[in-house]
């Protein structure tokens, strides 16, 4: 038998759409690792985060950014690190810097990440997102439900957001986002 090796495939084939000056791009270059805070270990984890990435533990509803590494608060005792990373060893990379101060789980494959940007973005998002996105500061984040799908959003610019949703329904999620743009442009 020929030597077989497995190849990673982006969920949406690396989708990149342009809709009347707005863009929807699948970010398949990002790794996502969740970090849970051990009971009573808040300080140690915060320090490891500072030392490892110069990151503060983000407040609820906020994300913090250091270089290309973004920490997003997802639960009272959990956050996610999102950063460019190609190989399937992101958890190990994170854990190495954490040194056991947090419980890590690789979430890269659990999420579809879409980057949306353009002048009609807020109009498009108000069709599917119940959060008050116009009031979001850059870096604000929220998790909610869009068109029956759990979704997380981070404001990354005046008219740009990262949108995350479950990877198994990536196609449905893209359809929802794309339809919103089509309806408002």
């Amino acid at each position: 038998m020929d030597k077989i090796s497995l190849e990673a495939a982006p969920l949406l084939g690396g989708a990149s759409l342009e809709l009347s000056g707005n863009r929807i791009v699948e970010r398949d270059d990002l790794a996502i690792v969740s970090i849970a805070t051990p009971l009573g270990g808040e300080e140690a984890l915060a320090e490891a985060l500072r030392n490892g990435w110069s990151l503060d533990v983000p407040k609820p509803t906020r994300s913090s950014l250091s270089g290309e590494v973004r920490a997003v608060r997802t639960a009272p005792d959990q956050m996610m690190l999102i950063f460019p990373h190609a190989t399937p060893d992101a958890e190990a990379v994170v854990q190495e810097r954490l040194g056991g101060t947090g419980y890590t789980t690789d979430q890269t494959d659990g999420w579809i990440v879409l980057e949306v940007a353009g002048p009609d973005t807020l109009s498009a998002m108000e069709r599917i997102c119940p959060l008050d996105l116009p009031s979001f500061e850059i870096g604000d984040t929220g998790r909610t439900v869009m068109e029956h799908m759990g979704a997380m959003t981070v404001r990354t610019g005046d008219d740009a957001f990262l949108l995350l949703s479950a990877s198994s329904s990536a196609a449905s999620f893209l359809h929802a986002v794309e339809t919103s743009y089509r309806y408002v442009t």
Partner: protein, 94 residues
């Protein structure tokens, strides 16, 4: 409805799942309680017409369980707490 999440601020109730009376926190120890006690815990409710403390789960949010004090007559939300804090305050630990 809007649930004013203690950490996240006001959120549409559609993000939550409701379980019921917050007395479900007070689970008797199965080894050291009478069957009657477990029966009442599982089945009997005050079901008040007025202020009701109840458990809401932020399933489409930060997955916190909350104790929401709400009027069953007007739906006014009077107080929202993290259920974990309430559980600890009621003496639950490990």
């Amino acid at each position: 409805m809007i649930i004013n999440h203690p950490l996240l601020g006001p959120r549409d109730a559609a993000e939550f799942v409701v379980l019921g009376d917050a007395c479900l926190i007070d689970r008797p120890d199965g080894m050291n309680s009478a069957s009657e006690e477990m029966h009442d815990y599982a089945y009997v409710r005050d079901n008040p017409a007025g202020e009701h403390r109840e458990l809401w789960y932020h399933e489409q949010g930060d997955r916190s369980w909350l104790v929401v004090t709400r009027s069953t007559l007007t739906h006014d939300v009077i107080k929202v707490e993290l259920a974990r804090d309430v559980a600890r305050a009621r003496g639950r630990s490990r």
